[in-house]
């Protein structure tokens, strides 16, 4: 099979894509011409303007179809491969009980001004997400969910008090890169407060993070869109139970 691919409309290799956008001009012939020119500059060959509608005063919305002239080589695509085995809740509990011999403590929070607890709650609340129960459901995990808008120093203090093995932080608000600033601030605060051996595993999650940016942000792992509680639990067991044992 070819490792070079193009988008698929209804025929292999047709390259067809659809896109929609708004231009800040009233709807007229010139606006439509501008939309087609933009499509051509974006690499669409033979672009068809299928819909144009004036919205508000001085704006026009467009839907354009066309063949992308770009190719993608699958061999050149870089992703963070999952480097740990996926475990069921029972396997997670068994691994912790048998090999760690105590409950594993997870402290979770939304930090900074972020009040959107939907991410951290999906992972931690027993209710869970996508048909999976959250980490509170795992008998061998002790979960402390601090909720929304937790100040970084409070999070660090609580993690120290609870002797947390891992800290989970969710960041949904991304205006002005708030999620990146908050994550860096949190990582720095933990580095300052605790020596390397005693620092909890730092895990952040949110829909707009780049999975590959963990080192740059100073955390151990980044989870993005589509992460389920068992993904996180499997990772925690891998890093805090299995791989530590292997190293010992």
């Amino acid at each position: 099979m070819s490792r070079i691919i193009r988008p698929y409309g209804d025929t292999t290799g047709d390259g067809m894509v659809q896109l929609s956008f708004t231009l800040p001009v009233p709807h007229d012939k010139r606006a439509e011409g501008a939309a087609l020119q933009l499509a051509a500059k974006m690499g669409l060959d033979g672009a068809m303007l299928v819909h144009a509608k004036g919205i508000g005063e001085g704006y026009t919305f467009f839907v354009v179809y066309g063949a992308s002239t770009h190719l993608v080589n699958l061999d050149e695509v870089k992703v963070v491969e999952k480097d740990y085995p996926h475990l069921s809740p029972k396997e997670v509990n068994d691994a912790i009980r048998e090999r760690l011999g105590r409950k594993l403590c997870v402290v979770g929070a939304c930090i900074g001004t972020d009040a959107h607890t939907v991410g951290i709650d999906a992972i931690l609340n027993i209710k869970g997400v996508a048909g999976e129960k959250g980490l509170e459901y795992y008998r061998e995990l002790r979960v402390v969910n601090l909720g929304a808008q937790v100040a970084v120093p409070d999070l660090v203090n609580r993690a120290v008090d609870e002797e947390a093995d891992a800290v989970l932080v969710s960041q949904v608000v991304t205006q002005k890169d708030a999620h990146l600033h908050n994550t860096r601030e949190m990582a720095a605060a933990f580095r300052e407060a605790l020596p390397p051996g005693r620092r909890p595993l730092l895990v952040v999650g949110g829909p707009r993070f780049d999975e590959g940016a963990a080192t740059e942000l100073g955390v151990d792992r980044i989870f993005t869109r589509g992460t389920t509680p068992s993904d996180v639990a499997s990772y925690l067991v891998h890093r805090l139970v299995t791989s530590r044992e292997d190293a010992a």
Binding site: G56, F61, T113, A115, K127, K176
Partner: protein, 529 residues
């Protein structure tokens, strides 16, 4: 006319009695405590505005000084207006107090009477402003007119910059919105002061300030005339400064305010007692100002399951209704909330939504119910999202909802773009146009799926209310009954700003409000005792 469900009137009456009984200890708590924000709201009504060079409002500086010296448990009006005899106005007194230059005492005898008279007169000025705003709204509605259709179409703007919000809000109104909500900056609910002046930088929203309120209301008055219907303006009386924001909203003629009885407790971890005290005062102000409150039951369904927890919405609506009635809000000002949040993968999810929406409609026939769009099950799949929003709009029309918050198919992706808003409004217009009168033809059978489901939810609500009456509402909140959040009464933010009222507690604003905002249901109250 919407469909009629075969609800047993005795069960409905029982649900209301239980709600009144569950609410009563909390009402007693609210009546016997005060908070720093209630006291600051009183100063705002008395006309104190502005902030120090660090942006801390003078009401905070003055109230803090009094709290430090004599506490707030007697009410700060007497110490403040007694001290005022040596100063030309509240501004100058606040400046001096901030510089540690004022010794506050609780006056007695004749001095107390003089202070009391001055305080009363000053605060009545604030109520005059509220009353004038209310009559002005009535005049404008009479002159320009209400939206021609129900539900009213409610749209959100949220740029963070009031001067960006204004053209967006005006454009939204021209595109069909009847109600504009300016979302607040993330984090404002946890500020123990109200920022001052016009603001241009917020996170995912714009700060609620008196000046921002004034600017937006003036802009929408202009647009109202252009579009030929009075565009209502909404903001948030929630968080640690709920009473002050309510006072500002009343004086600046906002038309609706989000004001839930438990939202701050559950989702912002604000102390439950602080919330209930602040909420009672803010609701009394809203009653005086003719402001429609919007409650936040939709939020429970974003954390809990919308089918399993459907009855918690009903329970919360009944509690919100009781708290609102007690604070003097009549039914036409009760925008009780509910939402279209059932997982679309659940079989018969639309029929379940219809059952829940009709139940709310029938339990609260005179309340302007606020119908909230799907958020929890919106994904990045904007095409599916648009379809789901269409079903949401349809359910709203079929069940006679009063205020429809327009769903965005880009929910969970981006803050709405101009085009998202246009597509979403197109969706609403299509449904309103295609089946405006469908409610007339929609009569689910008396023993059918929808009727049975509504009765089941009502039954579960009664069971839960019984439990809450037995355990106490504060304990139920502590146990995670609502939205799965566990919030103990002695935890959360803002508890240090709460004080039990002393025997001689006196506040000219609460005195006036208690006099003019009578309990809307005298009978359930009796039954509750």
């Amino acid at each position: 006319m919407t469909a009629e469900l075969p609800l047993d009137p005795a069960v409905v009456a029982r649900a209301r009695r239980l709600a009144a009984k569950a609410a009563q200890p909390v009402v007693d708590l609210a009546r016997s405590h005060t908070t720093v924000s209630v006291e600051r709201a009183t100063l705002r009504l008395a006309g104190l505005t502005g902030a120090d060079p660090d942006g801390i409002p003078w009401v905070n500086r003055l109230a803090d000084a009094v709290q430090e010296q004599v506490g707030i448990d007697h009410g700060i009006a007497l110490p403040v207006f007694h001290a005022l005899k040596d100063y030309p106005d509240l501004d100058r007194l606040a400046h001096a107090a901030a510089a540690d230059g004022v010794r506050f005492t609780l006056p007695e005898g004749h001095a107390a009477e003089t202070a009391r008279e001055h305080a009363r007169a000053a605060v009545l000025h604030g109520f005059d402003r509220i009353d004038r705003s209310r009559s002005r709204r009535d005049e404008l509605v009479a002159e320009i007119g209400d939206p021609p259709q129900r539900p009213w179409i409610y749209l959100i703007v949220a740029t963070g910059d009031i001067y960006e919000d204004i053209p967006q809000a005006q454009a939204a109104a021209k595109a069909g919105a009847d109600v504009i909500a300016v979302i607040r900056s993330t984090g404002q609910s946890l500020l123990d002061y109200v920022p001052e002046g016009a603001t241009r930088e917020g996170f995912a929203g714009t700060y609620a300030t008196g000046e921002n309120f004034r600017l937006m209301r003036a802009a929408l008055d202009e647009t109202s005339r252009e579009v030929g219907r009075y565009i209502r303006l909404t903001n948030y009386a929630s968080g640690l400064c709920m009473p002050e924001i309510a006072a500002l909203a009343g004086m600046h003629r906002l038309d609706m305010m989000l004001n839930d009885s438990m939202y701050g407790i559950l989702f912002r971890d604000i102390n439950p007692i602080r919330t209930f005290v602040d909420q009672r005062f803010s609701r009394q102000v809203h009653a005086r100002a003719g402001i429609i409150i919007n409650t936040g039951e939709d939020n429970y369904l974003t954390t809990a399951d919308a089918v399993d927890a459907a009855h918690t919405v009903t329970v919360s609506q009944l509690l919100n209704e009781r708290f609102a009635h007690e604070a003097g809000l009549p039914d036409p000002l009760l925008g009780l909330g509910h939402a279209f949040e059932i997982n679309p993968e659940v079989p018969e999810s639309f029929r379940l939504e219809l059952a829940h929406a009709l139940l709310a409609r029938q339990l609260f026939p005179d309340a302007p119910l606020k119908w909230m769009p799907p958020t929890k099950h919106m994904t990045g799949d904007v095409f599916r999202g648009n379809l789901l929003d269409g079903f949401f709009n349809l359910a709203g029309v079929m069940t006679g909802q009063s205020i429809l918050l327009v769903g965005m198919m880009t929910e969970a992706v981006v803050t709405p773009w101009l085009s998202d808003r246009d597509i979403a409004l197109q969706n609403v217009r299509y449904v309103l146009n295609a089946c405006a009168g469908l409610a007339e033809d929609f009569h689910p059978p008396k023993d059918g799926f929808i009727a049975n489901r509504a009765n089941q939810v009502l039954g579960e609500a009664v069971d839960l209310l019984e439990k809450i009456v037995d355990d106490g509402l504060l304990n139920a909140i502590a146990d995670g009954t609502f939205g799965i959040m566990k919030r103990p009464a002695d935890g959360g933010r803002g508890l240090d700003g709460v004080a039990k009222r002393a025997e001689d507690y006196w506040n000219p604003a609460t005195e006036e409000l208690d006099r003019t905002s009578p309990d809307q249901d005298a009978e359930p109250m009796e039954a509750a005792r």
